[in-house]
């Protein structure tokens, strides 16, 4: 602990003595068991990206099976369901959640707020190691007898723990345990993010001067702290059902001719617990993406984000509303049908703040000075895919429209577009944007453009036509589409087309991985602020910033993060720590 002497007014001084104790002393504590949020961020990101590559390969196998049923002899029905389950769970929890909060959250929160680090560095370190342990347990389930669970990523009981589903012996236990470890790890990180935002901001950094990236990650962290416990208790209860013979989720059941010793439980209860977590989870991924993309658009369009205050309130409103929409995943689950009125209404209301965000993004482009850099390209593609996926959400959210579409490929297309493709495009944009801060070098632009075009157009061509398969009546989670009178031959051809595009888009990601590694050595030197951005992470005295971030003196903030092309300013951006210019109106901006 550092004792900071207080000045006369009780305000800590800007200058803080460099304390020897505080810095890591060995290679091990510097790079491995690091308490520096930036190193933890890299650890989280590298781990999550590696899992992402595995999940991508699982999706290749799934798509190959769907396009050419039975062609790969090692993918039987059991293996197929294991593939879809692991792909889904890895992507939603272990990649997207971990990358946005553990990766970008750790890197950007302290830097953007002018803090030296997270407020609880030790818990922050533990958070990563718990995450890694959760990942190890998850991957170990590939090696246990019977393999990983094939219950679908929603893990609906009774099917998840009865015969007829692969991974009944060990896989489901490993999955539940891994999720519980992940949640414990996340809680340590999440409390850090929230407390750092509330307590760790530098002087002058009011809440309404924070970059929207921080607002998005902050709100998502609060939501995750409230939502994950529902999943945690769901996991505990299912583990008890599986191992101790309790019947939380298990009614009287005949399993392949034999009566099981369960009775009186409710499968719907699990669905409520799962989606009470699961729907906020969508926004836990989306809100950081919203925040980041707002900043990318503003920086690269050289224009203030349009309607900043509205953007903040929209993030908060979406965060709050997302806790009262969960049962829109359950319109045809057999729950009380009158719930449909309530949940359809709340779900469609959430479209309003979401639409406001879209308007403000495109209105930031309007009258901007648009630089089509690689991060900007990804941000633009995000808007396209997010608007597309968000609009199909209005189909599925509108209770009666959901009836024919639920559990079809329409749903698969929708959620991949809105919480797969769109946030991942933001992740890519953000990587191209902040890589120079983390490494001091820019990623290769030609490789980046190639990566962008194949990923954006390819992903759109995968998921846009897929909606129409669902509209036609192809259910999701089918080992093979099969023959039905209503499927024309062309539907099978479309299936093959989608698979080819999926292979292509997947291959393009290898170019990105190559770019990440190659540019580490050979990328163009970036300098401290290559994008000429206003927010604090670009104003560090040294790049990449060392432990402690800002050297001897913490920055003092005088303005919001969006002073681009301010009339009368000498340059087209004014950093947040720039004191008011001569003649600058006081109170002009938040």
């Amino acid at each position: 602990m550092v004792d900071v002497p207080l000045g006369a007014a009780g305000v800590p001084p800007a200058e803080v003595e460099d304390v020897e104790l505080y810095h890591p002393k060995s290679w091990l504590t510097h790079y491995v068991f690091s308490q520096d949020a930036k190193i933890i961020a890299v650890q989280y990101s590298v781990t999550a990206l590696s899992i992402g590559l595995v999940a991508l390969m699982l999706s290749w196998l799934m798509r190959l099976q769907l396009a050419f049923p039975g062609a790969l002899s090692f993918i039987d029905a059991d293996a197929y369901y294991q593939l879809i389950t692991m792909h889904g769970m890895m992507m939603v929890v272990y990649v997207l959640t971990a990358l946005f909060l553990g990766g970008f959250g750790n890197y950007l929160i302290p830097l953007m707020l002018g803090a030296r680090d997270m407020v609880f560095p030790y818990a922050n370190m533990l958070s990563f190691w718990f995450y890694l342990l959760a990942v190890v347990v998850l991957f170990a389930s590939f090696a246990v007898p019977g393999g990983p669970t094939g219950a679908g990523w929603t893990l609906y009981p009774p099917q998840a723990i009865t015969a007829g589903t692969p991974g009944l012996a060990w896989g489901i236990i490993m999955m539940l345990v891994s999720l519980m470890i992940f949640i414990i790890g996340f809680t340590m990180g999440g409390l850090n993010y929230v407390v750092t935002v509330l307590q760790g901001r530098t002087r002058g950094m009011t809440l309404m001067r924070m970059p929207l990236t921080v607002w998005g990650i902050f709100t998502a962290s609060v939501m995750a702290l409230l939502a994950f416990p529902a999943l945690f208790v769901g996991c505990v209860m299912m583990l008890f059902d599986r191992l101790l013979g309790t019947s939380f989720f298990m009614p009287e059941i005949i399993e392949q001719g034999a009566r099981l010793p369960y009775g009186g439980g409710s499968p719907i209860l699990f669905q409520h617990l799962f989606w009470f977590f699961g729907h906020p989870e969508v926004y836990i991924v989306a809100l950081p993406a919203f925040g980041i993309v707002s900043d990318l658009i503003s920086v690269h369009a050289r224009r203030n984000i349009f309607g900043y205050r509205m953007m903040v309130w929209a993030i908060v409103a979406i965060g709050a509303l997302s806790f009262v929409v969960w049962a829109h995943h359950m319109y045809v689950s057999g729950m009380n049908p009158y719930f449909g009125f309530f949940f359809a209404t709340t779900t469609l209301i959430i479209a309003i703040p979401t639409a406001i965000k879209v308007y403000n993004w495109v209105l930031t482009l309007w009258r901007g000075d648009i630089h089509l850099t690689v991060p900007m390209l990804f941000a633009l593609a995000f808007i396209v895919t997010f608007v597309n996926g968000g609009l199909t959400g209005l189909f599925l959210g509108n209770v009666v429209v959901d009836v024919p579409l639920s559990d079809t490929m329409f749903v698969v297309a929708h959620f991949h577009m809105v919480m797969g493709v769109a946030p991942i495009l933001v992740i890519f944009g953000a990587m191209y944007h902040w890589y120079p801060k983390a490494t001091g070098r820019l990623l290769s632009v030609p490789l980046g453009r190639f990566h962008f075009w194949v990923t954006f157009l390819g992903a759109y061509l995968i998921f846009f036509p897929m909606h129409y398969l669902g509209l036609m009546g192809v259910p999701r989670r089918y080992y093979e589409m099969g023959e039905t009178a209503i499927y024309p031959q062309s539907a099978h051809d479309l299936n093959i087309f989608i698979t080819v595009m999926a292979l292509l888009v997947g291959a393009a990601q290898l170019v990105f991985v190559f770019n990440l590694i190659w540019s580490l050595r050979h990328g163009r030197e970036a300098g401290g602020n290559p994008w000429r951005a206003c927010s604090l992470e670009w104003q560090t005295p040294v790049t990449p910033p060392p432990h402690g971030n800002f050297g001897k003196e913490l920055p003092v903030v005088y303005r919001w993060a969006y002073d681009y092309n301010v009339p009368g300013a000498p340059e087209d951006f004014i950093p947040q720590n720039q004191p008011p210019l001569a003649g600058e109106m006081a109170g002009r901006t938040p």
Binding site: P158, I254, L372, I383, V387, L391, L469, M472, G482
Partner: protein, 277 residues
Amino acid sequence: MHVVLVLVLVAVGSVLFHFLSPWWWTPIASNWQYIDDTIIITFWITGVVFVAVLLFMAYCIWRFRHREGHKAAFEPENRRLETGLTVITGLGVAAMLAPGLFVWNHFITVPPDASAIEIVGQQWQWSFRLPGEDGKLGRTSVERIADDNPLGLDRNDPAGRDDVVLQGEDLHLPIGKPIKVVLRSTDVLHDFYVPEFRAKMDILPGSSTYFWLTPTRTGTFDILCAELCGTGHPYMRGSVVVEEQVAYDAWLDGQQRRMIAQQDETKRQKGEVRAQQ
């Protein structure tokens, strides 16, 4: 200006794909035309928004692209514009939600003259039960399920004595009569899904769920399972035959006679067993 071109192409291409591609829903065979209509309304509203946003983006990127000396406008907020857009969005949302809720109310209100049938999902097959002359389905329970009683009928319930149980056979429905479909599972979740009917509902062990429909078109339709129920999920198939009342009556009559013959046979066998003892 690749980006501008691509954005326009994505907008126009998506619309063309929507209208020209061969993949569309199957001709409807139930009274749920309302659902299709609501989807069409939703397609129009969302389609217009999608195209408008993309074209506006394309315009902005072309018009406000970076050139030497070009400067962005500094305008943190525009209250009138923001309020206006919020109100328009609210109206658009209401235009989708209102018909949606109206049709939902219709969907969950079973007409009093609907006749009940039962559909049972089991890994991985469909079974059906039709009420006999009395129009009532008898009680069931999981404890009573046995080899000779796969659906667990309560033999002591008089309402169930004349129930017609169909296993491994097609379900027949008369055209133009409202039907309340009562759904039951004995093992895991399933979902009774006939794409032509539009309506579908999950099936739960431990409780029963329902929906209703009126078949409006004769023909044979595939039954699919739409809720993951284990590795046999894609192969859990069946057929439903919608036919004119006369044909339906003849079929039902045949099924009832088969049931009675079967019951007599069972009784005779039991009698023989007793005689041997």
